[in-house]
């Protein structure tokens, strides 16, 4: 299905909208409910981090890609969310650190990208292998 992009003013009131869009895309991409919840939480945290560092007259962009380029990775990415602007340095307080701790647990991989002004945070969920239930 490809790319969905949402751009919104850097206001905390829009973060909920971003979560709703992310959940809708994740469900339609066929992710399991546990991963969908992880997407809801992680995208919310990332958008909150971005909004918290910006003035309300700037804009945050969330893109969700359910058919990302695979680059020959052994575990194919299932969904990639990208939030910008958001960089790794500056303004990360205790709550920010808490947010990052959450991101580490909720995604299969997250990374800050510095390729554009303001930076971006990329969140990746991998294809979940069919695993037998643990005994």
């Amino acid at each position: 299905m490809g790319l969905v992009s949402l751009r919104f003013s850097a206001s905390a009131s829009h973060v909920r909208t971003a979560r709703l869009v992310a959940v809708t895309v994740a469900r339609r991409a066929g992710l399991g409910e546990e991963q969908v919840e992880a997407v809801r939480q992680a995208v919310g945290e990332a958008c909150a981090l971005s909004v918290g560092r910006l003035s309300p007259d700037t804009q945050v962009t969330l893109t969700l890609d359910d058919a990302p380029r695979q680059d020959g990775a052994p575990s194919p990415a299932r969904l990639v969310a990208r939030v910008s602007p958001l960089d790794a340095v500056g303004g990360v307080g205790s709550v920010g650190d808490l947010g990052l701790a959450v991101l580490g647990e909720l995604t299969d991989h997250y990374a800050f990208e510095s390729g554009e002004p303001g930076g971006a945070l990329r969140l990746t969920w991998l294809q979940q292998p069919q695993q037998p239930r643990p005994l």
Binding site: A12, S13, V15, R16, R19, E37, R40, Q41, G44, E45, C47, A48, V51, G52, S94, V95, L98, G99, A101, V102, E105, L106
Partner: protein, 119 residues
């Protein structure tokens, strides 16, 4: 769903019933309510989160702030939450070790108010 916060007195404690979403937008409202309660002399709080649909790290920060605040008055803050979706956020941040988390309001009210107790 928007955040809702109602309070009542029960068994000598203040039960704060929270519903809806506690996130970067609504967390300041919850923080103001908790701060107001403590300022008014309510130092033993039970925060009932059974109606909470979503909790982010900003909300967690508010709860930690509330816990610190009541403890400066030798008070207590117990949580009521049995929803896996919300509990997971406490677990992955290690905050299950910080908060006494109960399945029901009754269990929270039956627990010691002592600042060091743990459910």
């Amino acid at each position: 769903m928007d955040l809702s916060v109602t309070t009542r007195e029960e068994a000598g404690r203040t039960v704060v019933e929270v519903g809806g979403e506690i996130d970067v937008y609504s967390a300041p409202t919850l923080r103001d309510r908790l701060n107001g309660l403590v300022a008014d002399g309510h130092h033993d709080l039970v925060v009932d989160m059974q109606g909470v649909e979503f909790l982010d790290s900003t909300g967690l920060g508010v709860l930690v702030g509330g816990l610190k605040r009541v403890r400066t008055h030798n008070g207590s803050l117990h949580l009521v939450c049995s929803q896996e979706r919300v509990l997971k956020v406490f677990r992955i941040t290690g905050l299950t070790k910080v908060f006494a988390i109960h399945d029901t309001v009754e269990q929270a009210l039956a627990a010691d108010t002592g600042a060091d107790d743990k459910a």
